[in-house]
Symmetry: C2
Subunit: 219 residues, 2 copies
């Protein structure tokens, strides 16, 4: 990678960081917990959000920003739960950036919200490098993906506050040790809070939602 390319990359990142700081201020001013959800494609981000929002809207005002390379499928699934949803199609880009998020925040009733989920593009590498102005990143990983993902894609695990293992209902059918996966994740980031969940059986969802609620600033 030449010096010129490095310099351009740094400019792009610092431009992103300035907008991320502005987004962060908007979230803080409104007393919002903003959660940036990161995982591989198909790890179950949208399904976890469906079950989580369906329950949590009983005691919190929740909003969602759903990012995808192409299609508004996730946003269309989420809007049926009666919460405000904004969609971002990145049109090829492998991650959300702060400008894209800032561009849709005006579509959410921020002053009325407690918690905003930002569902990033399905990608375990690129999204971890871009601050969106979120309060925290959370990494998801399904039990079908193998225990070594934290070692192979460490940045997403290093920069997250929590790890949500998804699809735990499939554990009887796959060769996957929860203990090994969690130990691998903690070897990268000992401060990770971990949850073992299934959106189908609802295993672990109560604990996950209680923890999220405890992180909301104005409650």
């Amino acid at each position: 990678m030449g010096a010129k390319r490095v310099a351009v990359k740094e400019n792009v990142l610092s431009a992103n960081d300035r907008i991320a700081a502005a987004n962060r201020e908007r979230f803080q001013d409104a007393g919002i917990l903003a959660v940036n959800l990161i995982s591989s494609p198909g790890s179950g981000k949208t399904m976890l959000l469906e079950r989580t929002v369906e329950r949590m809207k009983a005691w919190l005002n929740v909003g969602i920003v759903a990012g995808d390379v192409q299609t508004r499928n996730d946003a269309d699934r989420l809007v049926q739960y009666g919460v405000p949803v904004e969609a971002i199609e990145t049109g090829g880009s492998c991650h959300l950036n702060a400008e894209q998020l800032g561009g849709v925040l005006g579509g959410l009733p921020l002053q009325a919200l407690d918690l905003v989920f930002v569902e990033n593009v399905g990608n375990l590498v690129c999204p971890s490098s871009f601050d969106l102005g979120e309060s925290m990143k959370i990494v998801l990983m399904s039990v079908t993906e193998g225990e070594d993902k934290p070692l192979k894609y460490p940045a997403a695990f290093r920069r997250s506050s929590a790890l949500v293992l998804t699809k735990a209902d499939l554990l009887p059918h796959v060769r996957f040790s929860v203990d090994t996966a969690v130990a691998n994740a903690l070897s990268i980031n000992p401060a990770l809070r971990t949850f073992v969940t299934s959106a189908y059986t609802e295993q672990g969802l109560q604990e996950w939602m209680e923890w999220l609620t405890s992180q909301v600033p104005k409650h």
Copy 2:
């Protein structure tokens, strides 16, 4: 994205394409089928390669290049099958590039090989934009990832010659329609050859290996 950033991106891509052309010439001179395997993290690229190489080495001379963001785990798993394996650690980058591949090709006995598998970084977005000099791209997708992945990540499906559905042994335990997934993939790329496989039960592996063998130029 400013004009300067676009220009730099185009320069990076055209530099990549020049090296890719050189890699392609090396493969063609040696009569090698070079296959660039693309999928999400944890879709089962390495496991499919393990079963495939274990069988195919009986009738073809196979080599492997295993790419990862970090660790040489995949290369270590593959080397036990007694075929030449080279590892590339991208050190943070979300895809292999042609220069990285060219840099390790000298470690493979190209004149003695018929087929080289290049296992790309686990990522359904970025690897599809970078020509490595391969004969063909092949996209993998596990039955746990949901049927909509071809619609949400169309580039990888548009640029591939075949789709390998993996983990078919889990079909009884997940809500996933093979017909819908294949129809979605064919809506993006009607020329895709599709295989439904399980590396555990070996379902579909014979058909997959016969097709690969038929694609090797010097046989």
